[in-house]
C-alpha cells in the first residue's frame, strides 16, 4: 500500500501540465485477445492513450473495432493480457480483484447501453445503488438519489419502476446512478444507441451539463456519428488500434 501511494504522488506530478486538465487516465501498451486457435481475435493491439480531466473523451469507430473492450479494461471490469492502465495515479492493472472492485465502487460511474437498471427497484432506489454499495443506509441513499433525479427533471418519476419508464427516462435514471456517488471517472458505452435521435441528443446534453467537471474524466464510447460533436476529443479506433485523435475543442475555438 505504501508503495502504491508513493507511486501515486510521483505520477501525479509527472502527469500534470497538459492542455486544460490533468491526465486522468494513462493507458500504455494495452493488449487483449479473445478465444484461441482459429477463433482467436485480437481486440486491442497495443493501445497507448490518455484522457484529461474536465473533458468528455469520445471513442468512436466501426462495430467490433474494440471500443467496448478498451472501455472495459479501463473501467477495471475486464483483465488485459498486457499493458498498464493508470487512473488518477493508481495503476489499476496491478490491483488484486477485490482491490479493483473497491476502486470501482469509489471512483467509477457506469452508464450502459442497456441501462441495466434493477427491475424490482424504483427509479430513486436504482439511482441510490452506488451509495448503498458504499455502505449508506437505505433512506439516506434514496434521499440523496431522489434529489439528484429531481435536478435531472425526473422528480415526478421517483417511485416508478423501470418498466414504467421510457428509454430516455431510464437513461436519465442511469445517469443519476452513475453520478450519485460523485465518481472521478465516468464510463459510458453507447449511451444513445437504444434511443431515438432526439432523446439521444437530450441525453448527451444532460451528460455534458451534469457529468463534465474540472476534476472528473468522462469517456463515452459510441458509433453514433450524430453525437460525435459532444466530445472534446475524439479517438477513432479501427481493428484494435487507435488510428486518429482529434481535439475538437481546439478546432472549435
Amino acid at each position: 500500500m505504501v508503495g502504491e501511494i508513493a507511486v501515486e504522488s510521483g505520477e501525479r506530478a509527472a502527469m500534470g501540465g497538459a492542455a486544460g486538465g490533468r491526465v486522468a487516465i494513462r493507458v500504455r501498451g494495452l493488449c487483449k485477445h479473445f478465444g484461441r486457435g482459429e477463433q482467436r481475435v485480437s481486440a486491442l493491439r497495443g493501445i497507448d492513450w490518455e484522457v484529461q480531466t474536465g473533458e468528455l473523451s469520445m471513442i468512436v469507430g466501426p462495430s467490433g473495432c474494440g471500443k467496448t473492450t478498451l472501455l472495459s479494461v479501463i473501467a477495471g471490469i475486464l483483465n488485459c493480457d498486457a499493458g498498464q492502465v493508470n487512473i488518477f495515479g493508481q495503476e489499476t492493472t496491478r490491483l488484486s480483484d477485490s482491490a479493483r472492485t473497491r476502486f470501482r465502487a469509489a471512483h467509477i460511474g457506469f452508464i450502459f447501453q442497456q441501462y441495466n437498471l434493477l427491475p424490482a427497484l424504483t427509479a430513486a432506489e436504482n439511482a441510490a445503488v452506488p451509495l448503498v454499495i458504499a455502505g449508506w443506509g437505505r433512506d439516506r441513499a434514496v434521499r440523496r438519489a431522489s434529489a439528484l433525479l429531481d435536478s435531472l427533471g425526473m422528480g415526478a418519476k421517483l417511485g416508478s419502476l423501470p418498466n414504467q419508464l421510457s428509454g430516455g427516462q431510464m437513461q436519465r435514471v442511469a445517469i443519476a446512478r452513475a453520478l450519485v456517488h460523485e465518481p472521478r471517472l465516468l464510463v459510458c458505452d453507447e449511451p444513445t444507441a437504444a434511443l431515438d435521435h432526439e432523446t439521444g441528443l437530450n441525453v448527451m446534453n444532460l451528460l455534458r451539463e451534469q457529468a463534465v467537471r474540472p476534476d472528473r474524466a468522462v469517456v463515452v464510447v459510441t458509433h453514433d456519428n450524430r453525437v460525435f460533436h459532444f466530445g472534446d476529443r475524439l479517438t477513432r479506433m479501427d481493428d484494435g488500434a487507435i488510428v486518429e485523435i482529434v481535439d475538437q475543442r481546439r478546432g472549435a475555438a
Binding site: T68, F110, F112, P130
Partner: protein, 399 residues
C-alpha cells in the same frame, strides 16, 4: 444490500411463488411421509407404549419383538420377584383367542360371528397394563374383576357387532358404547361378559383387543399350555432400570428390557424384516428429490435470469462477498417460507386425519430433519447459483 436482495426476490411474484411452492412441496412431503412412517412404527409397538406403570419387560431370551410371544414357565415370575432391585413383578398374557358372538336375539336367525381377537390377560390383583381411566369410554375397570368380565377395544368393536347401528356413533359419541355393556360372547366355550369399552392404541393387526385378567385368560386360551407371555416389573426407586434389567438377565437367564429398549427392539425388528422403511424411505426420498429439483431448479434459474443484474452490481463495485450474501439471504427467505408453510400443511393434514385409520405421528425430531433437508436444498441450489455469480465477468454488462 439486504433490502435490494429482498426486493429482487419478491419483485417477480410468479418466480418467487414458484420457488416457495417447490420448497413447500418438499417440506410437506418429507414431514408428511415421515409422520406416516413414524405413526406406523409406533403402531408396531403400541402394546408396549400402552402399558404404563411398569418400566421393565421380562421375556424369553429369544423374543425379538412384541408379537413374538414365547411363553415362559410360571416359576419365572417368582424368580424375577426374587431379583434384587425389582420392586414388583406381575404376569401378562398376550395371545390370540377366537370370539364367538351369538347374533343379537332381536335380529332372529343370524349366523354366528367368529372373530380372531388379541387377548391381553392382566394381573388379577393389580391390573397392571390396563387402559388409562381416561381411555375408558364405557363401564369401569373395577368391574374387570367380576366373573367372566372382559373389556373391549372400541376400534374393532364393529367387527364383533356389525349389525349395530354404527351410524349413530358420531351423534352419540361415547354414550353410544353404553349399549355394549353386559353383552356376552364366547371365547373357547367360556362366557365373556363385556364390562367396559376402552381405547387401545391401534396396532398393525386388524384384530380387536380384549382385556381380561390373567387367571381368566387361561380359560379363554385353552389351546396353550404355558400362558406367561411377559412379566411386567418395576424397579426400586433410585435404581436405573437398565442396570436392574441386566441383573435380571444374569440371575434368571431370562431376557429383560426396559420399556424403551423393548420399543426400539420391536421397531428395529420391523425396520429390518418388513418393507415398510424401504417403501416409505423411497417415497420420502422421492419427495426430497422432487422438491430439490423444483426448488433448486427454480432458484438456480432465478439467479441465472438475474445474472446481468448481479453483473451490474459487480461492475459498480459490489464485492463477491456481498453478492454471495444477497443470494444466501434470498435462499434463507424462501427456505424459511417453504419450510413453515410445508410443515404447517403437514400438521393440518395430521389434524384432519387424526381420527381416521391413518397412522400419523410427528415426533419433534422430524421437524429439525425436515429443516435440515430444506436447508440442504437451499444450500445446494444457492451453491450452484453462487459459483455462477462468482465466475461472472462483470464485463458482460457492456454486451
Amino acid at each position: 444490500m439486504a433490502w435490494i436482495a429482498v426486493k429482487m426476490l419478491v419483485g417477480d411474484r410468479a418466480k418467487f411463488l414458484g420457488i416457495v411452492l417447490g420448497l413447500t412441496f418438499a417440506a410437506l412431503l418429507i414431514t408428511q411421509q415421515g409422520s406416516i412412517f413414524c405413526g406406523l412404527m409406533l403402531r408396531t409397538c403400541a402394546q408396549i407404549t400402552d402399558i404404563t406403570g411398569a418400566d421393565l419387560w421380562v421375556m424369553d431370551p429369544s423374543v425379538r419383538f412384541i408379537d413374538d410371544v414365547k411363553p415362559m414357565l410360571e416359576s419365572a415370575l417368582y424368580r424375577v420377584r426374587g431379583v434384587e432391585g425389582v420392586r414388583w413383578a406381575v404376569p401378562l398374557y398376550k395371545g390370540q383367542a377366537r370370539a364367538k358372538i351369538n347374533p343379537n336375539v332381536a335380529h332372529g336367525n343370524e349366523p354366528t360371528i367368529i372373530e380372531q381377537v388379541v387377548l391381553l390377560g392382566l394381573d388379577d390383583a393389580t391390573l397392571v397394563g390396563a387402559p388409562h381411566p381416561n381411555k375408558i369410554y364405557a363401564g369401569s375397570l373395577r368391574d374387570l374383576r367380576l366373573p367372566d368380565a372382559v373389556m373391549v377395544d372400541h376400534s374393532r368393536l364393529e367387527k364383533l357387532y356389525p349389525k349395530e347401528n354404527w351410524a349413530d356413533l358420531p351423534r352419540l359419541g361415547n354414550a353410544f358404547y353404553q349399549r355394549f355393556l353386559r353383552r356376552q360372547f364366547e371365547m373357547n366355550d367360556h362366557r365373556a361378559l363385556i364390562v367396559g369399552v376402552c381405547e387401545a392404541t391401534r396396532t398393525f393387526q386388524t384384530n380387536a383387543v380384549v382385556y381380561t385378567t390373567y387367571s381368566r385368560a387361561k380359560n379363554y386360551a385353552a389351546q396353550e399350555r404355558k400362558i406367561l407371555s411377559y412379566i411386567l416389573a418395576k424397579t426400586e426407586p433410585g435404581l436405573a432400570p437398565q442396570a436392574v434389567a441386566r441383573r435380571i438377565e444374569t440371575t434368571t437367564g431370562l431376557g429383560a428390557r426396559t420399556s424403551n429398549q423393548f420399543l426400539w427392539m420391536t421397531i428395529d425388528y420391523y425396520l429390518k424384516y418388513t418393507g415398510i422403511p424401504i417403501n416409505f424411505g423411497i417415497t420420502a426420498l422421492l419427495g426430497f428429490l422432487v422438491g430439490t429439483a423444483i426448488a433448486g431448479q427454480t432458484f438456480y434459474n432465478f439467479t441465472i435470469e438475474n445474472l446481468k443484474q448481479f453483473a451490474a452490481l459487480k461492475a459498480m463495485g459490489a464485492t463477491n462477498g456481498r453478492i454471495v450474501g444477497m443470494i444466501l439471504l434470498q435462499a434463507v427467505i424462501v427456505g424459511f417460507l417453504g419450510y413453515g408453510i410445508g410443515v404447517g400443511l403437514a400438521a393440518l393434514f395430521g389434524l384432519r386425519t387424526a381420527n381416521t385409520e391413518l397412522a400419523f405421528f410427528t415426533p419433534w425430531q422430524l421437524l429439525p430433519v425436515t429443516a435440515a433437508a430444506i436447508v440442504l436444498i437451499c444450500i445446494l441450489s444457492s451453491m450452484l447459483s453462487v459459483q455462477r455469480v462468482l465466475r461472472l465477468e462483470p464485463a458482460i454488462v457492456f454486451r
